[in-house]
Symmetry: C2
């Protein structure tokens, strides 16, 4: 059985080789939504196969049909004991824009002061490689592992379309007892955290169209309806003055947390002051009469991810734009379904479309529901014991506001108990310019992998 010094020692001894492997994967610009990067996604899948085969894995690369054919890596390695572990991760990354926000090239990993900077450095290539390097360390040391099934996909950042379609067909190959996922974060002060819930997500683009072309705002001001103004009115109508969601029916299925869940969730909350210091603004979002934990862990959101229309360059250009668009996403809590949520918002907006303008809804996806797990399950107890070895403070339970769309489906298909433990931190700035992952975080991911897999191999 490895101890907590095992993974750090392995990392120190093999540091250059480990970084070489990790960086090779980071250099591939695997934006899974971009058809131009499809080749890089295929290269990433091939790279993972080449990495896994010498470790004794049987590896298949599966190309989903319908939509972009971004390959999925499926691997299996028989192990000791009766337990089968299904590990899920993704090699795709968010787009790197805005490019001018990056201090180092997004796809040229750069080690500065013990942190690796690159798109995907953490989310999720860093966390995946940390887990896999733990596996490699155990294998090289001749230590027992459980039967290990890996599914590493390339569309997590775009709702896992291909895997969502394929997973039900792969039921037998995905069957497992525990579903390990390394795509989440530690709690405040880097205390280890077990994710007991995730929010679902669905998104769409709203386009407001008016004049057939951009108009002169003097000649037409007061005559033509302004799509940017119409869009602003529509978006403003989604929330009440107190920050609560104003869409009829949207909140009907929201189930409040139990007292125990709320109590545990509050253990991992940070103060408004600490939040402001880290983020640069106070936590003033969401429904004003609810506390921070309830808002982020147990309530849904409707967020504007982007808004664009008309002139945006230097100086002024006095036009009435012919159209304006907003990118919106919703975070959902258990019992809300993505399709119902989208339908409610679509109806709300359509009912309020200003006269003379037309609305188009596009880019909507099937989305993913949220889930909550029972906090007293055996696998959570085992994980809590392991995490107490790594950090004497023990593990927090965390109901994460983020989404990993595929997890609910993999849980259903595999029959496994989800175990989401990750080592992200706010400072990693995932989805943003200058994403990074600390070498200490990487080693923590390795340590977790070696200890938890060894426990499950018994």
């Amino acid at each position: 059985m490895p101890d907590t010094a095992f993974a750090p020692a392995y990392f120190d001894k093999n540091r250059q080789a480990i970084l070489d492997d990790w960086f090779a994967l980071l250099r591939l610009p695997t934006v899974g939504t971009d058809p131009k990067r499809l080749g890089d996604c295929a290269r990433a899948a091939a790279w993972l196969k080449k990495f896994l085969k010498p470790l004794g894995f049987a590896v298949d690369i599966i190309t989903p049909e319908g939509g972009l054919p971004v390959p999925i890596v499926l691997a299996e390695r028989p192990g000791a004991g009766a337990t089968t572990v299904l590990f899920y991760g993704h090699y795709d990354v968010q787009p790197e824009d805005p490019l001018d926000g990056w201090k180092t090239p997004p796809f040229e990993p750069t080690l500065i002061d013990g942190r690796v900077y690159a798109r995907g450095a953490q989310d999720d290539k860093g966390q995946v490689m940390g887990f896999l390097m733990g596996v490699k360390a155990l294998i090289e040391a001749g230590m027992p592992l459980p039967t290990l099934r890996l599914v590493i996909e390339g569309q997590e950042e775009s709702s896992s379309k291909g895997l969502t379609a394929l997973a039900p067909l792969l039921r037998q190959r995905l069957h497992a007892d525990v579903l390990m996922v390394s795509d989440t974060s530690s709690g405040p002060a880097s205390q280890p955290a077990i994710v007991a819930g995730l929010r679902g997500v669905t998104h769409f683009t709203l386009t407001v169209s008016g004049p057939g072309y951009d108009l002169h705002s003097g000649i037409h001001g007061g005559l033509a309806p302004n799509p940017a103004q119409g869009l602003a009115r529509l978006l403003a109508s989604l929330h009440n003055d107190d920050g609560s969601i104003a869409v009829s029916g949207f909140l009907d299925r929201v189930r409040p947390p139990s007292e125990e869940e709320l109590g545990l969730a509050r253990e991992s909350v940070i103060t408004p002051e600490a939040y402001e210091k880290e983020i640069g603004c106070p936590p003033a979002g969401g429904q004003q009469n609810l506390d921070m934990v309830t808002r982020v862990s147990f309530m849904p959101t409707i967020e504007i991810n982007g808004i664009h229309g008309g002139y945006g360059g230097p100086g002024s250009k006095t036009v009435i734009p012919s159209s304006a668009l907003a990118k919106l996403s919703m975070r959902l809590v258990p019992d809300q379904t993505p399709s119902e949520a989208f339908a409610a918002v679509k109806k709300h907006l359509t009912d309020r479309c200003p006269r003379g303008l037309t609305l188009t809804f596009s880019d909507s996806d099937s989305g993913a529901p949220g889930f909550r797990l029972p906090v007293h399950s055996p696998v959570f107890r085992l994980a809590a014991d392991v995490l107490r070895k790594i950090d004497p403070r023990g593990a927090l339970f965390h109901w994460d506001g983020a989404s990993i769309p595929i997890v609910a489906l993999l849980q259903h298909v595999s029959g496994a108990a989800p175990l989401l433990v990750g080592f992200g931190r706010e400072e990693d700035k995932i989805h943003c310019p200058n994403e990074s992952f600390g070498l200490d975080q990487f080693v923590s991911a390795m340590t977790w992998s070696t200890l938890m897999l060894s426990e499950l191999a018994v």
Copy 2:
């Protein structure tokens, strides 16, 4: 005295040379707000000097201080009679974006089916060259002209900053009896129109800032205030549900038109059906309980010219943007001042700034007031007679919703009576991709120039 056939005959005879001159000016990308195009503005001024000198003009190129040094062309040619005419035009153009909306290159003038396509083809290089070609035709024919003073500047599209500062110092050189401006449009069905009023204008950029960087919309949704959402709420608050302006104090100085003004203005109005056919959407903008003419000619506006923040690319990127901005402009009616209007809007927005977000106001200018002219003045009677020769329907009076910021100041400094007659049409699509000017419109501008200048030379 030339007749109405004089200018068309001159055009037909010198067609290629006229187009060569006009196109040479159009090829210079004279975006007066863009520091990178300063050289092209200087080249345009030099080109005009070279064009005017052989016609007997004394020409000075004056470079304003403070702000971008976009040169101003000042020229004078002594003439017959006691009347001095000051002609005002501009060689600068609006930015050419969005570039992908153009069917031909914006700075490579292209003649298709009797129309010249290029940025500035009409506004204002086409109208200026039409006027100047009329001057040239008269001179070459040895016909008398009044004393002619020209001021052709390069910052009209950005509030004429340099000329605004210089004009009071040039009082003597600008002194005149009539201020002729060729920068406006004909009425419906191309009926000639005399502009009896213009709206003023002022603009600014509003930036809403929140988090220090783009945030993950799952991890932070419900916690962080969303700048795009805050911006939408702020912009929506500028108007009431009936389309009227909701900013306290903004409408206080609005002076309703007289019965006569309203009656004359209504002669040049188009029907809502014709508007929709031309523009692609119904005239549903502005205050709902007012008629079209009142809304566009005698009421102010607050328009969103552009709105930008967060992700706008293909697919989705689930961020809470760190900031979002809107470009706004206001059209003003007489007695409203740009500074008071901006102050009222700024206070309105500042008072409503959502918690956790901060507002920045930038790019604001000194703006220009609007004006209305008496419809029974001698110069208007003379112009009406001339225009009846060109078109038996005679001239309409038009209170234009657009702005030529410098006109009110030039009127004040020169002591001249403004006479704004132009030959633009909606189909010219000024300020938009595929701006164009018909050769027939160009010849009308020449005819107007030859006939009106001859009348004023008596």
